[in-house]
């Protein structure tokens, strides 16, 4: 069979990608403190421990708040940049847009260290959830722009003009016509930014104040082997949540294209 080696390769590749993640739920429901085979039996009490851990609940709360704020701000900035990129003409546009996308490829550790210096030494700020939010907005905005660019570039530039020609002001034309058409892109951008911020570790590690974010707290837990199954349980929840959010984001993106009557199979997922 001609396709056999390729098929074997594909299966191995998928195993390599997803086997480690498949271990998470396996040990999250395993009735033993030690992460090792053979499995001991089914239990859900690690999830119970998780719910009973006040510090962990606090960390999850921090992370959700930071992720939500990051999603909102990064998307707002993304809308402005993508709209300018798609509709406006100004000198140096290419360079400026490229520069805005740069954080996408900057090593996070560099961003983290330099932001720590700026916030502590230069601005003299106290580290808090808001310093993390600022940093997460920085790294999430390029993703938002990339997603929203697609939404705005698929838009017929005459459409807003047509709305104005039919009696709407510039603002209401944007609200009635442009906004509904790019809304799927906005939702998709918010979900991606939310997901990125939620599990971001390096920057959060450098910039959190007294209250760690969830990834930082999990990292702290690793020093206590007895807590490992709880981490597995949390990991299981997070993976499920991330997958659900990404799928929703992609569905919205596709719906947006379908609305505008465009066929497309590419994109983020």
């Amino acid at each position: 069979m001609k396709g056999l080696p390729l098929r074997v390769y594909a299966i191995l590749y998928l195993l390599f990608l997803y086997a480690p993640i498949a271990l998470l739920p396996l040990f999250a429901f395993n009735d033993a403190t030690i992460i090792a085979f053979p499995l001991k039996g089914f239990t859900t009490h690690w999830f119970g421990d998780l719910a009973g851990n006040a510090a962990l609940r606090q960390a999850v709360g921090n992370s959700l708040f930071i992720a939500a704020m990051t999603a909102i701000f990064a998307t707002l900035l993304g809308i402005c940049a993508a709209r300018a990129g798609a509709m406006a003409r100004f000198p140096g546009k290419g360079g400026i847009l490229g520069f805005v996308m740069l954080p996408l490829v900057l090593p996070e550790i560099i961003v983290a260290v330099s932001l720590l210096i700026v916030m502590r030494q230069v601005l003299g700020l106290n580290l808090s959830n808001w310093t993390v939010i600022a940093a997460h907005v920085l790294i999430c905005t390029p993703f938002s722009i990339a997603i929203l660019n697609g939404a705005f570039q698929n838009l017929d530039p005459s459409i807003e003009e047509a709305a104005m020609d039919l009696g709407e002001s510039r603002l209401s034309a944007f609200r009635l016509v442009t906004l509904p058409l790019v809304m799927p892109g906005i939702v998709s951008s918010m979900l991606i930014a939310f997901t990125i911020s939620l599990d971001e570790f390096i920057i959060a590690f450098f910039l959190t104040g007294a209250n760690p974010t969830m990834p930082v707290y999990i990292w702290g837990l690793l020093r206590f082997p007895a807590q490992l199954p709880v981490v597995m349980a949390l990991g299981t929840i997070l993976v499920t949540l991330s997958v659900v959010l990404l799928v929703i984001a992609e569905l919205f993106r596709r719906r947006g294209l379908a609305r505008a009557g465009i066929k497309d199979t590419g994109g983020f997922l």
Partner: protein, 357 residues
């Protein structure tokens, strides 16, 4: 008829680019007016300045006696059909057509009736519930038309509305647009690069080149008496022949054809070298037994282009550098000549057009 739209020395600059150069124009109420020209001649820019989508750099635009300076598109008595139609893809057909009625004080039921009437007018009765993005190009265009006409504007602006349609659909829409215009009595301003479309549909046409109006006239005048070589070249086919003035009463010498008298109403230049134009259909190939009603010359067929109903011949005549284009109807029993055939050619001095530049 009074002028509904008056443009006085309208100028438009985009940075270094001079898009409109001193446009003076009057468009009458109820007229089907076309702006015709090659791409980049400024015709769309001119339309957009009338719509209020572009500010003029200088000059004035008056619509119905009102100066439009500082009046945005949403407050002008104009509506536009965009080249891309710009139908809102997230709305239904009825929502698209009713879009401009948002601030209309009429009741919901009355508005719905107005929408249905507008749809019927463009031949889309019963399409209201359909999604806009599921429509064909021709249907989208009708939606764009209904959406603009429902607001009963003083002027309807059409930006190359037929260029995206296939040939059959285009010819059908030309007739339909003319019918609509007569029916609603609204002034239509059409932007097009298609001379045939402009000739078929318009009461008057402004031919534009390089941001200026080259000639403004009704279709027949434009075709029969183009003001200059550029207009003549852009509208229909035209043979250009060098010539020489012989006297001030209109006697000229045309290369290859000989002496001729120009029709007296044409303004004559002081003298010297001139260019005259001759439409292909005013020339005729003479077959055995035919006699020329007016003048005759001899030539050799250099090229034959067969169109079914017509045949275009390129005929080489001594004394003229470029062969003359002659169009002949393919009547019953009339043979199609072959390349290299020598032939007699009939021409008529009444068809000569004196061209400046």
């Amino acid at each position: 008829m009074t002028a509904l739209i008056e443009l006085k020395s309208v100028e438009k600059h985009y940075g270094d680019y001079h898009a409109l150069r001193g446009i003076d124009l009057e468009i009458r109420a109820g007229e089907f007016f076309s702006l015709l020209g090659p791409s980049g001649c400024g015709k769309t820019t001119l339309l957009r300045t009338i719509a209020g989508l572009e500010e003029v750099s200088s000059g004035t635009i008056r619509i119905d006696g009102r100066d439009m300076k500082g009046v945005a598109a949403n407050h002008r008595p104009t509506n536009m059909v965009f080249q891309s139609y710009a139908v809102f893809p997230h709305l239904s057909v009825a929502e698209n057509v009713g879009f401009g009625l948002r601030r209309d004080p009429r009741s919901k039921v009355e508005k719905a009736r107005a929408v249905e009437q507008a749809l019927e007018m463009v031949g889309l009765g019963g399409y209201g519930k359909r999604r806009a993005h599921a429509l064909s190009g021709g249907q989208r265009q009708r939606v764009a038309l209904a959406r603009a006409l429902i607001l009963e504007p003083k002027v309807l602006l059409l930006d190359e509305p037929l260029s995206a349609l296939d040939r059959l659909m285009r010819e059908q829409m030309q007739l339909e647009l003319m019918r609509l215009q007569r029916q609603v009595g609204i002034t239509f301003i059409l932007v097009t690069h298609d001379q045939e479309e402009a000739l078929v549909m318009s009461d008057r046409i402004a031919v534009m080149f390089d941001g200026q109006i080259g000639q403004l006239a009704d279709p027949e005048t434009l075709y029969r008496k183009p003001a200059n070589r550029r207009v003549a070249q852009f509208i229909g086919k035209m043979n250009f022949l060098p010539g020489r003035m012989l006297d001030q009463r209109g006697a000229i010498e045309v290369a290859g054809l000989g002496r001729a008298e120009l029709a007296p109403e044409q303004a004559l230049p002081a003298g010297g070298e001139i260019t005259v134009g001759l439409r292909p259909e005013t020339l005729a190939i003479l077959f055995d037994g035919d006699t020329a009603p007016r003048r005759e010359t001899r030539g050799t067929v250099a090229e034959v282009v067969y169109y079914g109903d017509m045949t275009y011949y390129e005929v080489r005549v001594d004394g003229i550098d470029r062969p003359l284009t002659v169009s002949m109807k393919n009547l019953i029993g009339r043979p199609v000549l072959e390349v290299g055939a020598t032939t007699r050619l009939a021409w008529d001095e009444r068809a000569l057009v004196l061209l400046t530049a």
